[in-house]
């Protein structure tokens, strides 16, 4: 049976150096439930090491958690990759790590804390997650699709780190599954791609400030893909 699903598919955790240290598994899940979300996506910068923690916390509380990453291309455009299986996500993380130079400086960029499902600190990621990979946007999108993921260009209506800001317009033939906008009420143009909106929350209180309502049969990445294509009665609406 079809149901409406409120989703915020782009949240950061305390793994992202720029995110608040309160962005921990149980707190994120609790806040998402409190404001009535059915589904969240965890997309830290160039890493997925906190996805499992949030997913387990979500399972405990009955909240659907999609695993992903916000990947920085060599042009410094941010692309979200959302994956059905943990295996595919971990493989994508390998690709990103192999192409991500540099080491983090906590003093300069912030801590990159890896946690478990009870918010206990289990380690710190040493890579320069705030940096850019050496992969082109085309390579990023292709690598996501090779692993059955959804490729969504982040916050295209912002100048900083957005595909349109960095490259002026969406490169011809780039097979994105959707574009994410940060200000759905102020959309200035029509896009040739499906559009979603999400919070890009770096702080607990920002979770769900933008969310997308999908009409789906089940809470999964493949169902989201169908909704983006408006296949078989599935659909997508902003807020």
């Amino acid at each position: 049976m079809m149901r409406k699903v409120r989703a915020d598919l782009h949240l950061h955790t305390c793994l992202s150096p720029c995110a608040d240290d309160q962005m921990q598994a149980t707190a994120i899940v609790k806040q998402a439930k409190r404001i009535g979300l059915d589904m969240i996506g965890i997309c830290d910068h160039n890493s997925a090491e906190n996805v499992a923690a949030v997913a387990k916390a979500g399972l405990r509380e009955g909240l659907s958690v999609i695993g992903g990453m916000e990947i920085t291309s060599r042009e410094e455009a941010h692309i979200l990759g959302l994956f059905e299986s943990e295996h595919d996500l971990m493989q994508m993380q390998e690709v990103v790590y192999e192409n991500l130079p540099g080491e983090n400086s906590e003093e300069a960029f912030g801590p990159q804390t890896v946690i478990d499902e009870w918010d206990r600190v289990v380690g710190a990621n040493q890579r320069l997650l705030i940096g850019a990979t050496t992969l082109t946007v085309e390579q990023v999108v292709e690598a996501i699709h090779e692993r059955s993921g959804l490729a969504i260009a982040s916050h295209v209506d912002r100048e900083r780190f957005s595909l349109i800001g960095q490259l002026g317009f969406i490169p011809k033939g780039l097979s994105l599954d959707a574009l994410e906008v940060s200000r759905p009420s102020a959309m200035q143009q029509e896009y040739d791609y499906p559009v979603v909106t999400s919070s890009d929350a770096h702080f607990l209180e920002d979770i769900g400030i933008n969310c997308t309502t999908f009409t789906l049969e089940a809470l999964s990445v493949s169902e989201i893909r169908k909704a983006l294509r408006h296949e078989m009665g599935r659909s997508v609406a902003l807020n």
Partner: protein, 114 residues
């Protein structure tokens, strides 16, 4: 000043549109945000950037720029060269950093004001 004179003066390596180097350069613009270049560059400008994606050709073509210089020895992607040949946009590579290159261009009379 013509592109060919700047190429000689600054020891630039030409990567595309060899036959289009007599174009007159009427000013310069330096930026790596293509949305900004679309908004603020002007016809006849020589564009200084480190972006090597093929969209740089489309931007240069849309704005009718005199050419593109890539800095720090960054090489254009293969698709970028092919597109530049089709669109007849001269792409040049300099080993210098953007700061140094712009300084030398200014010294040669290429300015950002009209």
């Amino acid at each position: 000043m013509k592109l060919s004179e700047l190429i000689q003066n600054l020891n630039l390596s030409v990567r595309s549109a060899q036959e289009n180097l007599e174009r007159e350069v009427t000013g310069g613009y330096a930026s790596d945000l293509l949305s900004d270049v679309l908004a603020n560059s002007r016809e006849g400008d020589l564009w200084i950037t480190l972006q090597v994606h093929q969209n740089i050709v489309a931007v240069a073509s849309m704005k009718d720029l005199a050419g593109i210089i890539l800095v720090n020895g960054r090489e254009p992607e293969q698709e970028t060269i092919e597109k530049a040949e089709t669109e007849d946009i001269a792409i040049m590579v300099s080993e210098l950093s953007a700061f140094e290159l712009v300084g030398r261009l200014y010294g040669l009379g290429v300015t950002g004001m009209r």
